[in-house]
């Protein structure tokens, strides 16, 4: 289906909550506000004309100098017509809560746990939100931009050569 059809469809249904639609990248990229993200993804999955029934991936991102710094990015795929779409939503650092989509896609379970582990974004309604790749007692969120790659308390590694 054409991008214009998608854009029309989404605009008709979610007029107030779409912040930005971008067709300059390799696939249509839509930024929505976080309260409606579940409805947007459910609409994309269940509407018979759109049919985005495959969740390709879900990841987080952190833009420290924006008003809404933490983001979640979803890639959906209509495997019957080979059409992809990217949905983004952004939240604040004080209230990083996004509704979960594990009821729509079982694949989102571990992907949301990984995003929570790396960025601290809390997915409301997730059955078992705990860290998945890091240790449980880690008290910070490593992928956020303020955390350095290397351990800053080490004396033996010279920062001129490592972790530029």
């Amino acid at each position: 289906m054409e991008n214009t059809f998608l854009i029309e469809n989404l605009r008709n249904h979610f007029e107030q909550d779409i912040f930005e639609m971008n067709t300059n990248t390799d696939m249509l990229t839509v930024t929505v506000s976080y309260p409606v993200i579940h409805d947007v993804i459910r609409y994309l999955k269940e509407d018979p004309a759109l049919n985005f029934t495959f969740l390709t991936t879900l990841c987080g991102i952190h833009y420290p100098d924006r008003g809404l710094p933490l983001g979640v990015i979803y890639h959906l795929h209509n495997i019957y017509e080979n059409q992809r779409i990217r949905i983004k939503t952004f939240v604040t650092l004080n209230e990083p809560k996004v509704p979960t989509i594990t009821d729509l896609f079982a694949a989102a379970n571990w992907m949301e746990r990984e995003t929570y582990d790396f960025y601290g974004i809390v997915f409301e309604g997730h059955p078992d939100l705990k860290r998945i790749l890091n240790v449980e007692y880690l008290d910070f969120f490593p992928m956020r931009k303020e955390y350095p790659l290397e351990d800053p308390t080490r004396e033996d590694k010279d920062d001129r050569y490592f972790g530029r």
């Binding site: 390709t56 990841c59 495997i79 080979n82 990217r86 571990w110 790749l133 490593p142 790659l149 530029r164």
Partner: protein, 391 residues
């Protein structure tokens, strides 16, 4: 328990010979039947996504090597293709065919490991030993092409670092002549073996709808009956020039996964033969001066080459800002790279869509109701590689 029964908790611990890699399964067992299980992963988490934010673009290839380390060329070439998509570089057909040969070789080796390890987990170690000798031959081919055996760091943005040498072509032809005999012997051992079939049919099944909902892709999804293959629906690197069948199973059980992978090895052999016979003439790289190291003779004699060499090695070349998602059909499924660039020397955000991580969460559902030995076979038939699971 609420129904009056008492369940046992069995820890199939992280360092267990039957776990192919390091991940833990805590099983709740009722007698012999598995009621529930919980996975703990992350023992080999190396923070690739964080490291990638500090490395220049051509140094990230070494990180991608270590994702699915059984088929490293596919990861490398997938990353180079992502960069080429961001930069808008188009490769020639010769480069595409060379890439296809290496990617299909990697796919063959990964499927060989997976299938022989299913045999090992059911007690048949002989097939594994026979088949690994063939993997040794492929290591020699990788060594001719890129210099390394396992973590190959193969290719460059825009092509390859050197052309296929005559020795590489000879080894490739020897491999293509030799592998069918070994595969036939391996199949005689396992494919229609009564004991193997009894142990693998209806073990660990999954339906097509559930598999799609869990984000399955690759041979695990095709064994459940869905013929989704990225090489066909979204052909990259001139795959549309080649004619190959997508094998599809019916039940989604362990036997179907074994058979799908076995047939994919035969199809990959066909593709490699085709690509080798029709390899077009041309150069082994396109002109991408910002990322492709110039030849050393020019660096010592010409000024522009010296400057490009310096800039590339110090990682000071500019990249257009933007975001791109590219995926390839790796041996386990759709391996995707989501790259967000802000115009700097390293990615702003790089996310690997790792197929193993996504389909491993379906394991509790697949092993529920079976016995422990069925769980081991299901795990090994799903081809869980720890490097790709944790990243």
């Amino acid at each position: 328990m609420s129904n009056g029964k008492e369940y046992t908790t069995l820890n199939l611990g992280p360092t267990h010979p039957a776990m192919h890699g390091i991940f833990q399964n805590v099983l709740t067992i009722d007698g012999e039947k598995i009621v529930d299980s919980e996975q703990t992963i992350g023992y080999i988490h190396r923070a690739f996504e964080k490291i990638a934010e500090r490395r220049p673009y051509y140094q990230i290839t070494t990180l991608t090597d270590r994702l699915n380390y059984c088929s490293a060329p596919i990861n490398n070439i997938g990353w180079h293709m992502t960069m080429e998509k961001l930069l808008g570089v188009k490769t020639t057909r010769r480069i595409d065919y060379m890439r296809i040969i290496l990617m299909e070789l990697a796919r063959i080796t990964d499927h060989l490991i997976c299938n022989s390890v299913i045999g090992v987990d059911s007690g048949a170690l002989t097939g594994f030993v026979y088949v690994f000798q063939e993997r040794e031959r492929v290591y020699e081919i990788y060594e001719e092409v890129s210099g390394a055996r396992l973590t190959t760091n193969m290719g460059r943005i825009g092509g390859f670092e050197r052309d296929f040498s005559p020795a590489a072509i000879r080894k490739l032809r020897d491999f293509l002549n030799h592998l069918p005999k070994v595969l036939h012997e391996f199949e005689k051992l396992l494919l229609r073996n009564r004991i193997f079939m009894d142990r693998t049919i209806n073990v660990g099944p999954i339906t097509a709808e559930k598999a799609l909902n869990y984000g399955f892709s690759g041979p695990n999804l095709r064994a459940a009956g869905v013929d989704l293959d990225i090489r066909v629906i979204n052909p990259y690197s001139s795959y549309n020039d080649f004619d190959f069948i997508i094998p599809v199973g019916t039940n989604g059980d362990t036997y179907d996964r074994f058979c799908v992978r076995q047939e994919e090895i035969w199809q990959s052999l066909k593709i490699i033969r085709n690509a080798l016979e029709n390899l077009p003439a041309g150069n082994f790289h396109v002109n991408v001066p910002e990322f492709y190291l110039p030849p050393k003779e020019e660096v010592y004699s010409k000024m522009e080459a010296l400057i490009w060499h310096f800039k590339i090695v110090m990682g000071e070349t500019a990249v257009p800002a933007g975001e791109v998602y590219h995926s390839v059909e790796a041996a386990n499924g759709e391996l995707g790279f989501y790259l967000v660039s802000d115009g700097g020397r390293s990615p702003y955000r790089l996310h690997f869509r790792r197929p193993c991580f996504i389909y491993y969460q379906a394991l509790p559902e697949m092993i529920r109701g079976g016995v422990l030995s069925d769980a081991i076979l299901t795990m090994s038939s799903m081809n869980v590689i720890a490097g790709e699971l944790d990243g």
